[in-house]
């Protein structure tokens, strides 16, 4: 399995292939529905985003609160296609990658190709496993959104799978064709 430092992702992104398992280490940002809506509204009214998204990764996630002794509560991915309305605009402004679960629209895939970016998935429902690989977490914007606030987190060996690569290949479509069959 390939280990990638998120700070180096930009230089290796074009070597990633769909279906490939990757362990990510480094810093990334967490945002989901409500934060995406606010970021998109901020851009529309000419304001800056709460963080510089250039070459960064956004993880679509809203964690459970941290119990005593925890860095963060369970923290698995949420469904990416709800962010489809917002993510092309962010890729256009330099976002390098996204992490979520499930397929994304063709518009998002086109934006990923235009950017030379990547879309990773992690396994939905694996909240404790994800949280185990998150080593620090801090709310950096929109704290009033609670679980939906924007967080800056540091991950170590965070397990993901390449779902859409920089050339627009898509693991969902490719793999489904292999296993689709007609029952007798």
């Amino acid at each position: 399995m390939r280990r990638i430092a998120i700070s180096e992702l930009k230089t290796v992104v074009r070597t990633l292939k769909t279906g490939e398992r990757v362990l990510l280490t480094g810093d990334l940002y967490v945002a989901r529905d409500a934060a995406h809506k606010r970021m998109t509204e901020a851009l529309a009214s000419g304001e800056n985003l709460p963080f510089d998204i250039k070459d960064q990764i956004i993880f679509y996630m809203g964690p459970c609160p941290a119990a005593p002794g925890e860095v963060i509560g369970p923290a698995g991915p949420t469904t990416s296609h709800r962010m489809d309305a917002y993510s092309p605009g962010l890729f256009k402004r330099g976002l390098l990658g996204a992490i979520g679960k499930g397929n994304v629209s063709q518009r998002v895939i086109d934006a990923i190709v235009a950017r030379g970016g990547v879309y990773f998935v992690c396994v939905g429902g694996t909240g404790c496993l994800s949280a185990d690989r998150i080593k620090s977490a801090e709310v950096i914007a929109y704290p009033d959104l609670g679980a939906e606030a924007i967080r800056h987190i540091r991950v170590e060996d965070f397990p993901v799978i390449v779902a859409v690569d920089a050339f627009g290949n898509n693991v969902f479509d490719e793999q489904r064709k292999i296993y689709q069959h007609s029952e007798e």
């Binding site: 509560g73 396994v123 793999q175 064709k177 292999i178």
Partner: protein
């Protein structure tokens, strides 16, 4: 006449919502292991390995399997000869949810208004369904329904002429369109008949049945098996990344309906199908 106290109901609800979020029922654990053993897709196998690793971790830590700790749906079965003391039964259930989600460090995922979308901050209110029965029974079945899958649910008023084939086609269409986004392998509850809302309730109740429980009516049991087989031939697989396990189970529930109608509701649930019965 049997007397119950709201304080006891609140306490038991709070304990249960914490427990059910961390521990999947043994029948579901077993079904997941079986499915993992039957998977041939390498990515699918990886997905199952990670699912298992996470379930073990959640049990060890007694922390939620999934960060979407859901919206609570409570099915109350209340005997006619039960008297509840100490205030409102409904408020006692909400208070149990409030305490469980706060003290258990579970995610608060409920917004007060579907359009304003301000979080209520304590995961209340729960959605509560009551059934009144003879005797002194008092039970609450609690579920924590995740919305990645709930969003892929469907309801359609079919025409009587659509018949069995129409029902099967509609369910397969919902699975084909929804499963890739709903954390497959999914569990599918289908309500057939009744009225508009009755079919939806039947579909949700179907999700509470044990794994592999087939309908008592051989015709519906056969339809369940057909849908399971055809769904798993779609190739969608675990998390939609290809494979033989798209559904873990499909359950049909039916109810008498009107001469003009054939309502069909499909309630989709991810593999993290959490429910627990609290018996008083």
């Amino acid at each position: 006449m049997r007397t119950l106290h709201t304080a006891d109901i609140t306490k038991r609800v709070a304990q249960s919502v914490i427990h059910l979020n961390a521990n999947l029922a043994p029948d579901l654990r077993f079904a997941l292991k079986n499915a993992a053993g039957s998977e041939i897709s390498p990515i699918g196998k990886t997905v199952f390995d990670m699912i298992e690793e996470n379930l073990v971790l959640a049990e060890e830590k007694q922390r939620p399997v999934c960060q979407d700790t859901g919206m609570v749906v409570a099915f109350v079965t209340c005997g006619q000869d039960v008297h509840v003391e100490g205030g409102s039964l409904e408020e006692a259930i909400h208070q149990g949810v409030r305490e469980g989600y706060t003290q258990g460090y579970l995610r608060k995922s409920v917004v007060a208004d579907p359009l304003d979308r301000t979080n209520t901050g304590d995961n209340t209110p729960a959605v509560i369904h009551y059934r009144i029965v003879p005797g002194e029974t008092f039970e609450i079945t609690l579920t924590a329904k995740g919305f990645g899958s709930e969003n892929k649910s469907r309801l359609k008023m079919l025409m009587p002429s659509d018949g069995e084939a129409g029902v099967i086609d509609f369910v397969l269409e919902a699975i084909e369109q929804g499963a890739p986004f709903a954390c497959a392998p999914v569990i599918v509850g289908v309500g057939i008949g009744g009225t508009f809302e009755k079919s939806a309730l039947l579909a949700k109740e179907a999700l509470l049945l044990p794994m592999g429980y087939r309908n008592e009516n051989p015709r519906y049991a056969r339809m369940e098996e057909t849908i399971i087989e055809k769904s798993n031939a779609l190739g969608i697989g675990p998390m939609g990344m290809g494979g033989l396990n798209t559904v873990l189970d499909v359950r049909l529930r039916s109810f008498p309906t009107h001469i003009a109608g054939l309502p069909v509701a499909i309630n989709m649930c991810c593999y993290v199908n959490r429910h627990e019965k609290v018996v008083f």
